[in-house]
């Protein structure tokens, strides 16, 4: 996972709430067995509408998505994160994210910056007044900047640290291998296994 400290990119406004993961990447794109190549599935159904915001040429290279509340609800598909990343996004800004989506994003280095809804509205207005404008995301100081506006964002300290260091979760957990062994040894015998029983 690449280290994430600060980042600046063109921002796109998505004035919709409850953007569920079926919209971010429809199920038909989930049949792949690879980890990449999901860009064509990103908002696939909405992109069929020529008027959809991400179809505007000025947002063709957008890397920061400013979305309405409850972004990423629904299915646990991590493909939603991969699709957003493959499409070019490095950061999603919203006033509320679904838990599983936010967890998945942290695993693969997509920053989800939680900004108050007032701030989201400010960003939408700035972008719409000046399409193509960039937003800077400063993970170290937990700030997003757009022209004259600077807004704080929330992210938990542990995720922030992991993103900034680019650390792999499995490696971090395996530091506790002895504790896992000890826990397993103490588990009660009535706990089931999946092995076939006569």
């Amino acid at each position: 996972m690449d280290k994430f400290t600060t980042f600046t990119g063109v921002a796109a406004p998505l004035r919709r709430s409850n953007v569920d993961t079926d919209q971010i990447v429809p199920a038909e794109y989930l049949k792949r067995v690879t980890r990449s190549g999901f860009a064509d599935g990103c908002f696939a159904s909405w992109r069929k509408d020529p008027g959809f915001v991400l179809n505007q040429p000025v947002f063709a290279n957008a890397q920061v998505l400013v979305a309405g509340p409850d972004f990423g609800t629904g299915s646990s598909r991590e493909h939603a994160v991969w699709a957003l990343q493959d499409f070019g996004f490095r950061t999603i800004i919203s006033s509320r994210f679904a838990d599983i989506f936010r967890g998945n994003s942290a695993k693969t280095g997509l920053l989800t910056a939680l900004v108050e809804q007032d701030g989201v509205e400010q960003l939408w207005k700035l972008i719409e007044a000046n399409p193509g404008v960039s937003i800077s995301v400063d993970l170290e100081h937990k700030l997003v900047r757009c022209e004259t506006v600077t807004l704080p964002f929330e992210i938990d300290e542990y995720t922030r640290w992991r993103l900034m260091e680019g650390l792999d979760d499995i490696g971090l957990s395996l530091r506790h291998a002895d504790a896992i062994d000890a826990f397993e040894a103490a588990r009660p015998s009535f706990k089931p296994t999946t092995s076939a029983r006569a």
């Binding site: 199920a27 049949k31 067995v33 646990s76 542990y158 029983r197």
Partner: protein, 467 residues
């Protein structure tokens, strides 16, 4: 200070705890299916890691499999590839798999409970958001993403951030014809699709205690539709009765030891929740959704809402957009909405009790000519049970398209889809745009409402069929 059920389960599974880091929790059961696992196994291979506990891992094929012609190769080459890959991974890593055609095959969240693998006091994960289903047994059960699937395969643990607890108290008694599905649709309509965010929900109260395990699973299944991390119900005699004698339930002395532990799995009287919600069961009636998220639901007796009813601008835009997508006009009575298709099945309502409920309504009646109705059992075992009880005859006599087991029409990943522009009443869990196929329109309902709707041809409850 007492502890909630969720806090007890959490504490019983902490492997390692350090300041500034998430707790590392042990996972008792890891369920795997073909859609969210291939990249996880690839990750293991790339890192040279093995599956730490294949004996706590189980694979089923469900999302992609067809519900017709299951004796033939899967026609869709991409679905076939996904199933081929999961079988190869099962073999390479030594994990038990229930493939299409196996007697134990079925939807992952139907298979775990019916085998008795899901038990009180366990941590259960799966790369599927509806893993919350297993919380019905007093387990801490939640959906995870593919990176986490890889993490659990490699370590049998997960680093997890703390959660908040919310009590959903459903007191009183349900009126006849009102079901677990109506309770959960009413809860989501009340607290919203983000209302449970960050919380583990505990469903409590007389109306919950009165539910069967099937009904409890329906409710916990849809916890995720309220945005919750998990949903759970404290185990009781109903739970123990359901588990006793199942293939993977404890036996002999283990059963007694397990039972003694399970009986401690209740929220202490002096424990407090971070939030509480109250619902009066007696006030509920059959619910249906009218919009494009599960929180957009109303009693069947209501009318399609108007953007003018919205509480804020965001909500106003959401209602307007939902009505446009759904092809509905504000003010229309929900009972006047005609449907083209009816789907009974899924991990929400694909269990034997759900099929019995649909059959009871359909017995001696016919599905309307304008309606195509699918009944899809959640597992092969459910299908066999339905046949043993003669439910298949009732369905076929009524003109139902009676299928083999699978996820089917819930999610448009297999041949069963709702065509573009067509409207379905579905017992599944999501009414998102395009969920049941591109352009499909979904109304979420209970099995009883689904069956009555199929007969009438418009959204209806069994009471509408009488007289």
């Amino acid at each position: 200070m007492g502890r909630t059920l969720a806090e007890k389960l959490w504490n019983d599974h902490v492997v390692a705890r350090a300041d500034g880091e998430p707790d590392l929790l042990f996972i008792d059961l890891h369920l795997v299916h073909e859609v969210t696992s291939p990249q996880a196994f690839d990750g293991l291979r790339a890192a040279g890691r093995r599956v730490r506990r294949p004996d706590l891992t189980l694979i089923t094929e469900d999302h992609n499999i067809p519900t017709l012609d299951i004796d033939k190769p899967i026609a869709d080459p991409i679905s076939a590839e996904q199933v081929r890959v999961v079988r190869r991974n099962a073999q390479e890593f030594g994990i038990r798999i229930f493939s299409m055609g196996d007697l134990e095959n079925g939807i992952v969240h139907v298979v775990g409970p019916q085998l008795g693998l899901t038990q009180p006091g366990m941590t259960v994960v799966c790369g599927d958001s509806h893993t919350s289903t297993h919380g019905a047994f007093g387990a801490l059960a939640f959906g995870i993403g593919t990176s986490e699937v890889e993490h659990v395969l490699a370590t049998q643990t997960l680093p997890l951030k703390p959660f908040k607890t919310m009590a959903i108290n459903v007191d009183g008694e349900l009126a006849p014809g009102v079901t677990a599905k109506d309770i959960v649709l009413a809860i989501i309509a009340k607290i919203g699709t983000g209302g449970g965010q960050g919380y583990v929900l505990e469903f409590r109260g007389a109306a919950i205690r009165a539910l069967s395990m099937e009904g409890r699973m329906t409710i916990c299944n849809m916890s995720i539709e309220a945005g919750a991390r998990a949903g759970m119900i404290a185990p009781d005699e109903t739970t123990f009765e359901y588990l006793k004698g199942r293939p993977h339930a404890p036996q002999g002395a283990d059963w007694d030891a397990a039972l003694a532990y399970w009986r401690t799995l209740v929220t202490d009287a002096d424990a407090s929740f971070d939030a509480e919600v109250h619902i009066d069961a007696a006030s509920l009636s059959p619910y249906v959704t009218w919009g494009t998220n599960p929180g957009q639901g109303l009693p069947l007796s209501a009318n399609v809402p108007s953007p003018a009813d919205a509480k804020d601008d965001n909500d106003k835009a959401a209602i307007a957009r939902a009505l446009e997508y759904m092809g509905l006009t504000a003010g229309t009575p929900l009972r006047d909405i005609p449907v083209d298709m009816v789907f009974v099945g899924s991990c929400t309502n694909g269990r034997i009790e759900d099929l019995r409920a649909a059959a009871e309504v359909l017995k001696g009646r016919k599905v309307a000519d304008s309606v195509h109705m699918l009944v899809v059992p959640g597992s092969v075992k459910v299908r066999q049970q339905a046949i043993a009880e003669g439910l298949d005859r009732i369905f076929m006599d009524a003109g139902v398209d009676w299928r083999f087991a699978g996820c089917s029409m819930c999610l448009a990943m297999n041949p069963d889809k709702v065509p573009s522009g067509k409207r379905a009443a579905s017992t599944s869990n999501r009414n998102f745009e395009g969920r049941q196929g591109p352009g499909s329109r979904t109304h979420l309902v209970s099995p009883q409402v689904a069956a009555a709707t199929a007969v009438v041809g418009r959204l209806a409850s069994p009471a509408d069929l009488e007289g």
